[in-house]
Symmetry: C2
Subunit: 192 residues, 2 copies
């Protein structure tokens, strides 16, 4: 089947009403000028990722942040479907420039289910990126704020993020703190 | 339906052949005396978590590590099923004392699917705990080693773990390093 023929090109990776019904009343994030999920800036819209975003430069956007490699449309769709098959787990938000039809921002909230904390859940914010031509429009801030509020409203007992030294202060505005004595360790198995 | 009546009490949360077929030949972890997945020590067996572990003290074991709270069997089974419904995501390994029929050790590898790195996956090691009466039997080491090998053989491009200061050296034996300039930030939403 050719891309788009199965009619699910625009099917969001998570229920978009979850995104549009978020309650930001407890968020302390300040914007100047005002931007929001429903109005992220002139010519922009914010929504869940969909399969059609492969053609709107989603992978190219991710490559501004880290190694992506060559990913065919088939591989992208297979991964999208695999994420979809995990209920309530992958909340990938994108910002599109509706004129150019390009995805120019994205951020992911991944939910890990736990047995601890009364079978609670834990959120992790991953892969937040805004196209370098769209910096200075508070879009990283809006993405972060949105994913933080989302994690709270999904019932996570905590949410976390891995940060580089020079971003610690920026992220602290979202209530994220570097906990004393807690470290992040990592083993990389291979390079692409 | 009463617990156990649906015949899936012993159904593992992931395919147990994955666990028993792991190739440890590249692992550099040393044991003295020798222990392994198939022989974790006298009177012990290692296997994937199953629903019946609720009656074998699994939640009580987790409470030695962090807050657990009251979790009914129904809630446990609902969470187990929710994890099961996410394919290839939750690899929870337990060690049972076959005489007392108690779960005395556990560790979790959670897989996060990515679009980056050629639609690769990332592993996270979570909730590793050994019952305090079974310390000194290399069981944390065996659990860690197993989850590291598992993450590699499942194709993760990296695996990570959050560590307290005084455990950094212990975890470094598994190839886990604290990367320069990388921090772990966290926001806790509520206390139980």
């Amino acid at each position: 089947m050719e891309p788009g023929q199965n009619g699910n090109e625009n099917k969001p990776i998570f229920d978009h009403t979850v995104l549009y019904n978020l309650d930001f009343s407890k968020s302390t994030t300040q914007y100047n000028p005002a931007v929001s999920v429903k109005d992220p800036g002139e010519g922009l819209c914010m929504r869940p990722l969909c399969r059609g975003d492969y053609d709107k430069g989603y992978m190219s956007l991710l490559s501004q942040m880290t190694k992506v490699g060559d990913v065919s449309r088939e591989e992208f769709e297979a991964r999208f479907s695999a994420m979809e098959s995990c209920p309530d787990s992958y909340y990938i938000v994108v910002i599109e420039d509706v004129m150019t039809k390009k995805v120019i921002g994205s951020g992911t909230l991944v939910i890990e289910q736990k047995f601890i904390r009364k079978c609670s859940s834990r959120g992790r914010i991953e892969d937040v990126v805004v196209h370098n031509q769209y910096r200075g429009r508070q879009l990283v801030k809006l993405l972060m704020d949105t994913l933080m509020v989302l994690s709270y409203q999904l019932g996570c007992y905590k949410v976390s993020l891995e940060s580089e030294d020079d971003r610690l202060i920026f992220y602290s505005q979202f209530g994220l703190i570097k906990e004393e004595g807690q470290n992040y360790m990592c083993r990389r198995f291979k390079e692409m």
